[in-house]
Structure formats: structure tokens, C-alpha cells
Amino acid sequence: MLGKLFTPKKEISKKLYSSVGIITFILVLAIWSILTYGGFVNALFLPTPTAVLSTGIDLFVNGNLLSDIGISFSRVLVGFLIAAAIGVPLGILMGSLKIMQGAFEPIIGFIRYMPASAFIPLLILWIGLGETQKMSVIFLGTFFQLTLMIMDVTKNVQNDLIDVSYTLGASKVQVFTRVILPASMPGIVDTLRITFGWAWTYLVVAEIVGASSGIGYMIMQASRFLQPDKIIVGILIIGLLGLMTDMLFKAIYRKSFSWMRKDGM
């Protein structure tokens, strides 16, 4: 029985699969509880789960947490949408036309290793402290990786699929629109799901400097006033928002690409 669980790539029951996931969550919560309720760590460094929960409720009810979430969400969304609006078509072109790959892959491959956060001083100099600057950080953090990943997705379209389309009378443009694009679609949605997750991780970086609102700003303020419970609430909220958008993308994926599954459902 136990041997089966530790055989590489062996399937396990769905029930067991989801229960071990829940157990891991409980375990983390338990360690946190023991450390805090047991008095092993100073509450100034790590507050108890109940303290975090009540702070969270308080921030929702009396503070402006909801508007902070709204502002942060719009920054992530707009920055990411602009990155996707340019990165997806560019990535598709790079994945299918050698000349586009030759022109853009070297420079994108170079820029993507430059830390987006290091651009913040320059961005402030160029475009000031407004919303555009915050969105630019999100954009810089996601655009280059996203473009390269979309390129790889497009490159993986089987050559025979393209060849057979020519023999069925497709023009070059039709090969793009009727073959490469639909064939890449699942990979594109999956890439957007992963890079949208990264966009969330750049949010705090974007809101560290020169912000007066947003969850990142709230976290920085809480750090200044030694409010670890508030910091943890902020971190948990970003995590939850990220998880929710991830689930949304997964739902879109399931709904749009039923043709990938044998049961057709």
C-alpha cells in the first residue's frame, strides 16, 4: 500500500490527492499557532492567527482595505493587460517567423535579466509618481518573460499541421489565423495564467516607492508602524487574489478547450 504511494508517477485517488493538500495547509497553520500561542516567538515579530484575523476584519470594516484592493487590482490588471496586448502578438510572430525571432529574441533575452525594480528610479524620473509609473513596473516585470513564453508555445505547433494546411489550400495568412493561432490558444491561456501570477508579485515592488494607496502601500506603512498583523493581512490578501485569478484562468481553460479531453466535457 505504502509502496504504491512512493512509486514514481503512479496515480493516486482524487480524494487522497486533495486531502494531502488540505493537510499541508493545516500543518502550516498548526506550526504558526504553536509558535505564537505557545509564546515561543515575540508577538511583535509574529502575531497569532486570531490577531491577524481580527485585524483583517477590522481593516475591511473600518479601514479602507477594499479601496486599497481595488486600486492595487486595477494597477496589476492594466499593467498586465498592456504587457499581454503587446507580448502575445509579438510572441506569436517571433514563434512563427524566423526574422522576427532573430530581431527580438536577443534584446528581450537581455532585458529580461534586468530587475524590474531597478528601473523604478528611472521610471520616476521619466514619468513621475503617478499611476503610469506603477503600471510600468508591472509591465516591465511581466512583458519580457511573457513574450518569450508565447514564442515557445507557438514554436511547438507541429510542422506537419502547417504543411497539411498548405496542401488544403491555406494561404500564409490563413495558416496564421486558422492554424497557428487556434493551435497555440491553450498554451497562450496557460502562459497568461502563469504570468498574471507574477504580475501580483511585482505589485508590492511597484507600490513601495511613491505610493499613497494600495495593498503594497498598506504593507509598507504597517512596517513603519510595527504592525506585523497588518503586514500578514496584506500578504494573505495578495495571495488570495492571485489564487482567485489563477482559478479564473483555469476555469476559462477548462471551458474553452474541451476538445483536449477525451470525455469532451
Binding site: 499541421l161 504543411d163 498548405y166 496542401t167 488544403l168 489550400g169 490563413q174 487556434p182 476538445w259
Partner: protein
């Protein structure tokens, strides 16, 4: 003399590599008559797929030319349909949408597409599967749809690159009969590549045996077995004779290429 449907004239292919030039295909010439079923039989790596890809216009020949109805071909086009060894159905389209893909590109009416899809589904024995997606089909069914898709587009010639190569022996035998039936009904000109001796005899009006490294046509063996054929022909002494002849031809070649 009537013009052949397809004429391959001194077609050769040389690949440039780091260590110099490699001749993949020596200058090759042969013709195919209208409605004829021709197979090219050769060991793997002999360049038989190269011939087909050049005829399809997917690869350029280094020398010579391909004439279709007396006109030189220029790039790929819907007048030369093709079925590949790998599964090339569009996975996001249903069986019916796959079959009518080329027709839709041409701008055929919905009614025409419906009628043709129905006709070809019946021809390949897949009625009732029109709404299925490729992922739900077996390998043999996928290749049937690929054949239907190529035929529905009404090409002048049908090019087949080891289309049954990935199928098990039983399915392969059934597919050969399905293909012969479809060919007898559609009267298409077919050029079919295979390394399977039985398959090449069973299907063909004439078998071209190819040599390896560099690829060259070695012999043309006309097959005078009666039509229509079914699987029982494979048990006849005439079939065995053809098989022996082709086996000895191809054996010399296989030994050379090991």
C-alpha cells in the same frame, strides 16, 4: 500519347551540410497516369518522403521539375492533397469541421459542405462521428478522417506519406481496404509511399522500388492483380510471386543501408 497526370522530370535533391554536400535524391524521373495508384517502396532513409514532399511543393528540388497536367508546380496547393504519417487533424475542430476545412477556405456554401462531409463520412465508414473531436478517435479513425479531408477538397492527385505507418498490423490491413474502396469510388490519382512490401503490392497498379543513399529509382514493377481487390488476394500465388521479387530487390538495398 496522352499527357500524364503527374510527371516527375529529373528531380534531384542535394542537402548542404557542414561536411559538404549530401545527395538525398539522385535525378529521378517517372510518370503517373490519370487515375493510377502508384506506390514507392524503399527502406527508411532512402529519400522516398523527399520525392513526395517535392511533388507536394513543401520542399524545393535542387534540379528538375514536377509537372501536373503538363504545368510545372510552384509551391504547395490544394490540387495536391496530402496525408501524413503523423496525425495531422486539427484537434480543435470536430471530425466534420476537419473534413470540410479546405472547402471552407475555398468559400463553399454550408449546404455543399454538409453534403460532402456526409458523403465522405460514409465513404470512410465513420457515420455518426461527425461531432467527435480527434482526441476521442483511435489512430485508424484519425487517418480515415485525414483521407476524407484530403479527398473532400477534390485534389488532382493524392499524396500519401506512409499514412498507415503508425498503426498496428490489423488496423493497417483494414485501412488498406478502406483506402482502395475510396480510391475506386473517387478515381483519384494516388502516389503512396511505404516501406511495407505487402502494402505496396496490395494497393498499387505499379510499384517503384527505391534505393538508399543516394535515393534512386531502381525498378518499376507493374502489378497485374485483378481489381477490385480485397484481403484474400494476399493469399494468392501471384501475390506471393510479386512479394518475392520485391523482397529480393529491397533486401539488397536494406543490406546496403545498415
Amino acid at each position: 500519347m496522352e499527357t500524364p497526370k503527374l510527371e516527375i522530370k529529373d528531380v534531384g535533391k542535394i542537402f548542404k551540410t557542414k561536411s559538404g554536400e549530401t545527395t538525398a535524391l539522385e535525378k529521378t524521373s517517372f510518370t503517373i497516369k490519370d487515375g493510377e495508384f502508384v506506390t514507392i517502396l524503399g527502406p527508411s532513409g532512402c529519400g522516398k518522403s523527399t520525392v513526395l514532399r517535392i511533388v507536394a511543393g513543401l520542399e524545393e528540388a535542387t534540379s528538375g521539375q514536377v509537372l501536373l497536367d503538363g504545368q510545372p508546380i510552384d509551391g504547395p496547393g490544394p490540387d495536391r492533397g496530402m496525408v501524413f504519417q503523423s496525425y495531422t487533424l486539427y484537434p480543435w475542430l470536430t471530425v466534420k469541421e476537419n473534413i470540410t476545412f479546405g472547402l471552407k477556405l475555398k468559400g463553399s456554401s454550408q449546404k455543399e459542405r454538409d453534403d460532402l462531409a456526409q458523403y465522405y463520412l460514409q465513404l470512410i465508414g465513420l457515420e455518426g462521428f461527425e461531432k467527435h473531436y480527434p482526441v476521442q478517435l483511435s489512430g485508424g479513425m484519425k487517418q480515415r478522417v485525414a483521407i476524407a479531408r484530403a479527398l473532400a477538397n477534390d485534389p488532382k492527385v493524392l499524396l500519401m506519406d506512409e499514412p498507415f505507418g503508425a498503426l498496428d498490423a490489423q488496423t493497417r490491413n483494414i485501412m488498406q481496404e478502406v483506402l482502395l474502396k475510396a480510391w475506386e469510388k473517387s478515381k483519384k490519382t494516388i502516389l503512396f509511399i511505404t516501406h511495407d512490401v505487402d502494402e505496396s503490392i496490395f494497393l498499387a497498379d505499379s510499384v517503384h522500388v527505391m534505393t538508399a543513399r543516394p535515393g534512386r529509382l531502381k525498378r518499376n514493377v507493374p502489378i497485374a492483380l485483378d481489381r477490385p481487390r480485397d484481403f484474400s488476394v494476399k493469399g494468392t500465388p501471384e501475390f506471393a510471386q510479386y512479394k518475392e521479387e520485391l523482397l529480393s530487390l529491397i533486401r539488397e538495398e536494406s543490406l546496403k543501408s545498415i
